[in-house]
Every structure is written in structure tokens, then in C-alpha cells.
């Protein structure tokens, strides 16, 4: 298994390399980072613009710029940002934590919801509960993420008005300045997390609960579950010990594989709720033609995705003893 993991990682390196090359070319060709300077009124002196062009390596040919970036990475240099004072490495690290906190909580909420609702739907297939759960699942799956988020914000304000207290917040991940006391602080953070978590979790949960339902149905139809029942084991015991355990295996991999799309989803969530995470960083970078920030974003995100894909494969092997990687 270790050999398999090492081999997979070795294969991923050239893939990552090619992908960075493609994105570097796209990003470098897609706009002029000097635009904000050129459109300034009054216009800055030409020397200023020349200095900035030099700093952003715009005087070097494109391929050389890529080479400079690539060799820089190994020395921990992520290249110059349009914002001259930005330390890209430190910025990405800080943003990564913010996004991961959002994603981790939302994924846990979504997973719990998905398993509970998926299992209930499967056990009570074609019942009223199943239909309602199915319909709701599909409904959330069909909603534009930011559209739902805007509605949620309005609902949050209504809620605050109803209880006449500031419970739910709509902007950022905590108050500035943070409230005094541990309890108050915790409540503040929770109040900021509620809406973004709901809006991100609802969308992932819908797909996963469908998946869980299908997996559960398959297991329930299998011979060994029938056998277990025939042996006279209790329904409850069969459900939990045999059926659910096996039905969780495919969901594990799907969750890991879905991480990439959740990171994409978080871009929208971060924008609506003004969280300063990776998504917000990417958007700002694209809008300001900040090539090297886009590259840092890509490096981190693609690495995480590759890592989780590997993890998915390994988990699958651990959970399902029938699968062996040579």
C-alpha cells in the first residue's frame, strides 16, 4: 500500500507541473496587471509604471517568467504580487485555514445529514418520508448557491428581529473587536458560522444523501443481509452492524472526491458572506490579473485535490478488504 501511495504521488508530480504551466500561460496572457495604474487619474509618471513592470517581471519573456516562478517555488518564493507588500506564502497559509474551517464544518454537517436522511429514505423506500426527503434533496441540488445564501441572510435578519437579539451575523467569520469572555466569543464565532455553513452544507448534502440512499438499497438487496435476517438477527442489528457499515464505504470515497467541487462552492459562499478565504483570494487575484497569487492558489488547491483523491483510494482499500493495491 505504501508503494502504491508513493507511486501515485510520483505520477501526480508531472500532472501538477503541466497543470501549473497551462494555468500560468492562461493567467499571464489574460490581462495586464498594470491596468489600475494606467487608468489612474491623475496618471502616475511613466517611470512609476516602468518600475512596476520590472517588479512584476513583465520585461522577461513568458517562458522565462514561468521558469523563474518554478525555480522560485523551491526556494519558497512564490513570486511578486500586484500588491507589492503581499507575502503570497503567508497569505495563502492564512487563507487556507479560514477556508478549511468553513469546509470542514460544512462537510461534517452535510455528511451527518446525508447518512441519516439517506438511510431513512432507503429503509422506507417509496414511503412519504422518502418522497419528501427525495424532493427536498433535489430541490437543494437545483438551487443556485448564492441565491439560496441571499434568502438565508434575509431569514437570519428576520430571526434576529424576532428574538430581538443579535444572534446571527451576515458578514465575516467573527466580530471586530471580538467580544469579551470565552463564552461570548464562542457564541460570536458560532453566530458568524451558521449561515455560511448551512448554505454550503445544504448543497453537498443533497447529492450525498441520494448516493447514500442508493448504496443502502444495494446493500439491503444483497444476499448477506437477507441471510443475516434469515438467521434471525434483529432488524436493528442487521441495519447498523451489517447494512450501514457496508453502505458507508462508497460514500467515503465520494466525499473525498467531491472536495474539489466543494472548494469551488466555497468561492461563492466566501463572497456572499465576506469570508477572507482561498476563494476570495482567487477572485481578487483574477480581477487584478495577479498571476502569481493565482498560481499559489492553484498549487495549494490542486495538491489538496490530488491528496484527497489518493486518500479516497486508500480509504477504499482499508474499508473494503476485497480491494488490494499491488
Amino acid at each position: 500500500m505504501l508503494a502504491f501511495a508513493v507511486r501515485r504521488i510520483a505520477v501526480s508530480v508531472p500532472i501538477l507541473l503541466i497543470s501549473t504551466f497551462i494555468v500560468f500561460m492562461l493567467a499571464s496572457l489574460s490581462g495586464n496587471p498594470l491596468t489600475p495604474l494606467l487608468t489612474r487619474n491623475p496618471p502616475p509618471p511613466p517611470e512609476t509604471i516602468a518600475l512596476e513592470a520590472e517588479r512584476l517581471r513583465l520585461n522577461h519573456p513568458l517562458l522565462e517568467r514561468y521558469w523563474m516562478w518554478l525555480t522560485g517555488i523551491f526556494q519558497g518564493d512564490f513570486g511578486p504580487s500586484v500588491q507589492s507588500n503581499l507575502d503570497i506564502g503567508a497569505e495563502v497559509a492564512a487563507r487556507f485555514l479560514v477556508t478549511m474551517r468553513l469546509i470542514a464544518v460544512a462537510m461534517i454537517v452535510a455528511l451527518v445529514l446525508a447518512v441519516v436522511i439517506g438511510v431513512i429514505s432507503a429503509v422506507k423506500q417509496y414511503s412519504k418520508t422518502d418522497y419528501v426527503a427525495t424532493f427536498l434533496g433535489f430541490l437543494f441540488l437545483a438551487m443556485p448557491a448564492f441565491w439560496l445564501a441571499i434568502l438565508l441572510k434575509q431569514a437570519g435578519i428576520e430571526f434576529n428581529n424576532a428574538v430581538d437579539e443579535q444572534v446571527i451575523y451576515t458578514i465575516g467569520d467573527s466580530s471586530v473587536p471580538p467580544p469579551e469572555g470565552f463564552g461570548a466569543r464562542l457564541a460570536d464565532i458560532a453566530g458568524h458560522m451558521i449561515l455560511p455553513t448551512i448554505s454550503l452544507a445544504l448543497i453537498s448534502y443533497a447529492a450525498w444523501s441520494r448516493y447514500q440512499r442508493a448504496a443502502m438499497l444495494e446493500v439491503l438487496n444483497s444476499d448477506y443481509v437477507r441471510l443475516a435476517r434469515a438467521k434471525g438477527l434483529s432488524r436493528r442489528r442487521v441495519m447498523v452492524k451489517h447494512a450501514l457499515r457496508n453502505a458507508l464505504i462508497p460514500l467515503t470515497t465520494v466525499t473525498a472526491l467531491d472536495l474539489a467541487s466543494i472548494i469551488s462552492g466555497a468561492v461563492v459562499t466566501e463572497t456572499v458572506f465576506q469570508w477572507r478565504g482561498m476563494g476570495d483570494l482567487l477572485l481578487t487575484a483574477i480581477h487584478s490579473d495577479d498571476v502569481y497569487v493565482v498560481m499559489a492558489w492553484l498549487l495549494v488547491t490542486a495538491s489538496v485535490v490530488i491528496l484527497f483523491n489518493l486518500l479516497a483510494d486508500l480509504l477504499y482499500a482499508v474499508l473494503d478488504p476485497r480491494i488490494r493495491y499491488a
Binding site: G31, N32, L34, T35, P36, L37, L38, T39, R40, N41, P42, P43, P44, P45, P46, E47, T48, I49, L51, E52, Q83, S84, N85, L86, E91, A94, K153, Q154, G156, I157, N160, Q166, I168, Y169, T170, I171, G172, S175, V176, P177, T271, V272, F273, Q274, R276, D280, T284
Partner: protein, 584 residues
């Protein structure tokens, strides 16, 4: 449906009448929307003093959170990178300067810092600033001529070639700066006269502490100057010469300010904390304001945003008209647009009032067609010189102009043909993608010139700088900012040799007048020259001014002394006075 529309029109009419009655028909600057309410009820009459509450009626302490729409990537707002409106709003709470632009768009002496600033001689032009003896940085070091000298050397483009200054204009004309009276008297002598001298060391380019700069390197060498310059950009300030100082900075999230204990101004801040919260998506601001997560917002007005703000209980809002103006530009490098008759016809066929009605007029009934290129209403020297037929939408007159010039096929569905028999191909009209108001504007212009047989193809751009710089347009709609430095501003925009003259306008007479105005020491005469040059410019049908863009402030009703300032100084120009009403 019809009835409610009629009712709405009647309401608008009634309001408009009220407005006319209120301000005696004057279209002066600082005027706003008639829908202002609550704490901003008197802003139209008294733009400089509305929502004013004497310090004795303010509560001691409290926190106000103000939303800024951009992060603060650079703390040196005199540098090209740092010179951005939103971050400057926050940073200027820490810095001293010479002249402030008040909400009525006048430049007034900053009496916190200066006793006086006078032009004592016109040949050579000499300005003497008297700094208040009390004025000190928060470490106790006095604010002196040294700070002026540091600024001059870093921004004149000569002493520090590596300092990427936001502007050189004016600073590069200074011959010498000498301090006397312990540095509290500053004498500035110009090599060539600079009409916009009040704009130097003013709120647009405030002073940084020279004694702190000196810790970064030898200020007599370019390297030392640049080291200090870059240090100011990269370092979160602990220094302050303004009413507040930095307590903490969370990148991309918020700047927390507390009162500067050494603040020397007459008015001491009442607040415990002033927080500048970074909210980069303006559409989220009304919700945050409604939820009391911020108390003051200053977004770009849009129809829904304004209505949303109006609907929030316990929140007041006020719109003013600012220094930014929208305009329609023609590219004279285009072989067809090089002919003045066609340009005249396009400008006559464009109905500016109709454009306003479909865009900004939806949320601000006071916006009217702008009739000047040189000043906006409220600025000293403003004069309406645009020929009345330009922007009138008079199709018949436009057709007549074309017919008289010998054009044929003038009519909807036809293809306009020049006097020498060439068909005018579809011309490209451009605007910034995502700007809904400009999108509507260009669609309307497209429809308005169609009856001339002229077809416009709408091509959005996502890189306005690139598009204007390379002249990659036939027609284009965008905005200029009328900085308080009217004369150098005019040179940059209209001189045939200027890089910002994107449409390649070239009239030696205009060039001469603009240059003469910019180097004049008689402001009155200089302003007249600008207006004369503008009139010629208008006759040449090069740029059609559309309207002044509105600005909007909204605040919770317990916020006192924060008011709209449509100039580049923004609402934080009097931040030391901000506070919370005591009764609440």
C-alpha cells in the same frame, strides 16, 4: 398599472417641485436626492453642517464601524499603489495635511494643522505655510518643514527616481522649501508658477513623518528616500499626526483605530474605537447595516441599493453629487469620426436626459445633464458652456446637420453614406463589462443614433485601461474624476501631447489656453481660460459630458457628525467629530 405609474410620475413631479422650492432653483454642488431623511434631513440646505451635534451632546466613548470597499494593501497613499480612494479614507485618519475639500466641494484651510497658508509673491511664486505650534506627531515630535521637504523630495520625480509616486504634478515645479521659526514656518518657492498650489500637501497627498523616515535611511540620498518610502508602504503605522491611531490591523478584515492621545486639534474624538471594516462586495453592505454589523456605509449607489437603504428602519441616507462625471468619447483617429459633421450629429442625437431617466435618475431625481468638461457644479469656476443642442436628442436637427454636410441615406434601417460616397460601417461603442448603468447607457445611445442610419456595435471591455490606452474604440463611455487640481487635471485630459488624451484631440488653441491657465498665479483668470478652452472643445464635438455621478452615505440614526462628502476626501474628512448621540 397605468394608474400607479401615473401616481409615481406625479409623486416625482411633486418632489421635484419641492426641491426647486427648497434650493431656489440653484443646481449647486452637494445637492442630493430629495428622499434623504432622518439625521440627514437638512443636508441639502447645509451640506457642510448637517447631522451636526455639538460635542457636549455626544456620549463619551462608543464604537462606530465604517465599511470600506477595498483592502489596504499599501499604507503609503502618496505612492501609486497606495493611492486608492477606499484605503485612503482609513489612512487619512492618521495624517496631517494643508487643505481639506468640504462637502460643498470647496477647498478650505485645515485649521487643525495650519494657522495660515498664503501666496506671498507671484514672481517667483512663493507660498508660506504657518504650522500650529501645537501640531505634533504622537511621539511628541513637532510637525515641521522637514515633513514638507520629505514629501517634496519623494514626489518630485528627481530626488528619488525609485519612489513610485502617485503624482509629480506641482511637486516637480517646486524650486525650494525652507523652514524657519523651528520649522513651523514653511516657505515654498516655485520655479514655474503652479495654479493648483492648494492641492499640494493637501488631503489628496497628506504628510508622512520625516523623523520616522530618517530612521530608515539617509534622506539626502535617493536610496535613503526610497527605503523610507517603501517602509511607509509596507508598515502598519504606529505613528499618527491625526485624530486617531492604529490599535490593530487584520489584513482584509478590519482596521481598528483608537483616539490619538497627543491629538492637537480643537475637537477631541469622543469614540473609544473607530473600526474600518473591509466589505468588498457592496451588495452585502445594506444587509450588514440592517443587522447592525456596521453603522456607516458609503457604497456606489444603485437603484436597489438605495431603496434597500431607504427601507431600513433606524437608518438615514443622503445622496450628493460628486466629482466623478460620465462622458461619451469619440475617437478622432477613426476616419469617419474625423469628420466634425458626423460628430456633431451624434452628440445632437444623444438624449442625455433620457439616459439619466433610465439609469441614475431612477434613484436620484437631481441628476441633470452636465454642461461642462472643466468643472462640476459647486466647484469654483463652474460655468455651463455646452451648446444647448448637444445631448438634446433632437433627431431632426441631427439629420439636418448631416444633410447640410452632404451625407446621404440618413434614416433608420439605411446605411449612412458620406458626402464622398463611402458607407459608414458599424462603429464600435465600448464600456466596462459588468457596469449595468453603462450597459444601459450604450444601449440607449445605440437606439438614439439609429434613426441617422448609423449603426453601433456594442462591445464590452474587461480592461478599460488597455482599451483606452491603445485607442481600441470608436465610441466609449466611461468616467473621469474632477480632482481639485483643476488646471493640471485639464492639461492631463485634453492636451494634445498628454497620454490620457485617448481620442487624439488636437487643437493648438486649446493647448495654449490650458498651459497658460496651469501656470497662472491669478486663479480667477485661469478659471476663465479653462472655460473658454472648454467651449472650443465643445464646439469641436470631441467628448460629450453626460452627468455627475451621485454618491450616497447611510448611517444608523445614533451616529452624529458623519455626513456625505462627495469630494475625494470622502465622509471621513471630519472623523475627529464623529460620535454617538447621547440619548440613545
Amino acid at each position: 398599472m397605468r394608474r400607479s405609474r401615473a401616481a409615481a410620475l406625479a409623486a416625482i413631479g411633486a418632489v421635484a417641485t419641492l426641491v426647486l422650492a427648497a434650493c431656489g432653483g440653484g443646481g449647486g454642488g452637494g445637492d442630493g436626492d430629495p428622499s434623504e431623511d432622518g439625521i440627514y434631513a437638512d443636508c441639502k440646505a447645509n451640506p457642510n453642517t448637517c447631522n451636526a451635534v455639538p460635542a457636549s451632546e455626544l456620549q463619551q466613548g462608543g464604537t462606530i464601524t465604517f465599511a470600506i470597499e477595498k483592502n489596504i494593501p499599501n499604507w503609503n497613499i502618496n505612492s501609486s499603489e497606495g493611492n486608492v480612494f477606499e484605503p485612503a479614507l482609513a489612512i487619512k485618519t492618521l495624517l496631517p495635511w494643508t487643505f481639506t475639500t468640504t462637502p460643498d466641494l470647496k477647498m478650505v484651510l485645515n485649521e487643525n494643522v495650519l494657522v495660515s497658508a498664503e501666496q506671498t509673491s507671484t514672481s517667483p511664486q512663493t507660498i508660506v505655510y504657518e504650522i500650529r505650534p501645537e501640531a505634533v506627531w504622537n511621539d511628541g515630535t513637532p510637525i515641521t518643514a522637514d515633513d514638507f521637504v520629505f514629501q517634496w523630495k519623494t514626489m518630485n520625480g528627481k530626488d528619488c527616481p525609485g519612489c513610485a509616486a502617485a503624482q509629480n504634478a506641482g511637486y516637480d515645479q517646486i524650486e525650494s522649501i525652507t523652514g524657519s521659526n523651528d520649522g513651523k514656518t514653511v516657505t515654498v518657492v516655485f520655479g514655474t508658477p503652479y495654479a493648483d498650489w492648494k492641492n499640494l500637501f493637501a488631503s489628496g497627498t497628506p504628510l508622512y513623518p520625516a523623523h520616522i523616515a530618517a530612521q530608515q535611511g539617509d534622506l539626502n540620498t535617493p536610496e535613503g528616500l526610497q527605503a523610507a518610502w517603501d517602509w511607509f508602504g509596507a508598515t502598519v503605522p504606529t505613528y499618527s499626526g491625526g485624530p486617531f491611531q492604529v490599535e490593530s490591523w487584520q489584513d482584509n478584515v478590519a482596521l481598528t483605530l483608537v483616539p490619538n492621545p497627543s491629538w492637537y486639534g480643537e475637537t477631541k474624538p469622543k469614540l473609544d474605537k473607530l473600526i474600518m471594516r473591509v466589505i468588498t462586495d457592496a451588495t452585502q453592505e445594506p444587509i450588514a447595516l440592517q443587522n447592525d454589523e456596521v453603522q456607516v456605509v458609503y457604497p456606489q449607489p444603485q437603484v436597489d441599493l438605495v431603496e434597500q437603504l431607504e427601507n431600513i428602519p433606524g437608518v438615514s441616507q443622503y445622496q450628493g453629487l460628486g466629482l466623478t462625471w460620465e462622458h461619451l468619447d469619440l475617437n478622432l483617429a477613426n476616419e469617419f469620426l474625423a469628420d466634425e459633421a458626423l460628430r456633431d450629429a451624434i452628440f445632437v442625437a444623444t438624449d442625455v436626459q433620457a439616459i439619466i431617466d433610465s439609469t441614475v435618475g431612477q434613484f436620484n431625481e437631481e441628476v441633470t445633464p452636465l454642461k461642462s468638461h472643466m468643472f462640476v457644479p459647486g466647484q469654483e469656476g463652474f460655468e455651463e458652456y455646452l451648446p444647448p443642442e448637444q445631448g438634446s436628442g433632437d433627431i431632426e436637427r441631427a439629420r439636418q446637420i448631416l444633410t447640410e454636410a452632404g451625407y446621404t441615406n440618413i434614416g433608420e434601417g439605411q446605411q449612412l453614406t458620406t458626402p464622398d460616397g463611402r458607407a459608414v460601417p458599424p462603429l464600435r461603442i465600448r464600456y466596462t463589462v459588468g457596469n449595468a448603468i453603462r450597459q444601459t447607457t450604450v444601449e440607449l445611445i445605440q437606439a438614439q443614433v439609429r434613426p441617422l442610419g448609423l449603426n453601433l456595435e456594442i462591445v464590452p471591455t474587461d480592461d478599460l485601461g488597455e482599451t483606452t490606452d491603445s485607442g481600441d474604440y470608436d465610441l466609449i463611455v466611461f468616467a473621469w474624476v474632477q480632482t481639485p487640481a483643476s488646471f493640471s487635471n485639464a492639461q492631463q485630459t485634453w492636451l494634445s501631447t498628454s497620454e490620457s488624451n485617448y481620442g487624439q484631440y488636437n487643437n493648438p488653441e486649446v493647448d495654449r489656453m490650458l498651459n497658460e491657465a496651469a501656470t497662472s498665479t491669478d486663479l480667477e483668470a485661469a478659471r476663465n481660460l479653462l472655460n473658454e478652452a472648454g467651449a472650443i472643445l465643445a464646439e469641436d464635438s470631441y467628448v460629450l459630458p453626460l452627468y455627475q455621478k451621485p454618491t450616497i452615505i447611510a448611517a444608523r440614526d445614533d451616529v452624529a457628525n458623519a455626513r456625505n462628502n462627495s469630494s475625494l476626501d470622502g465622509p471621513t474628512y471630519n472623523v475627529e467629530e464623529w460620535g454617538l448621540r447621547a440619548s440613545s
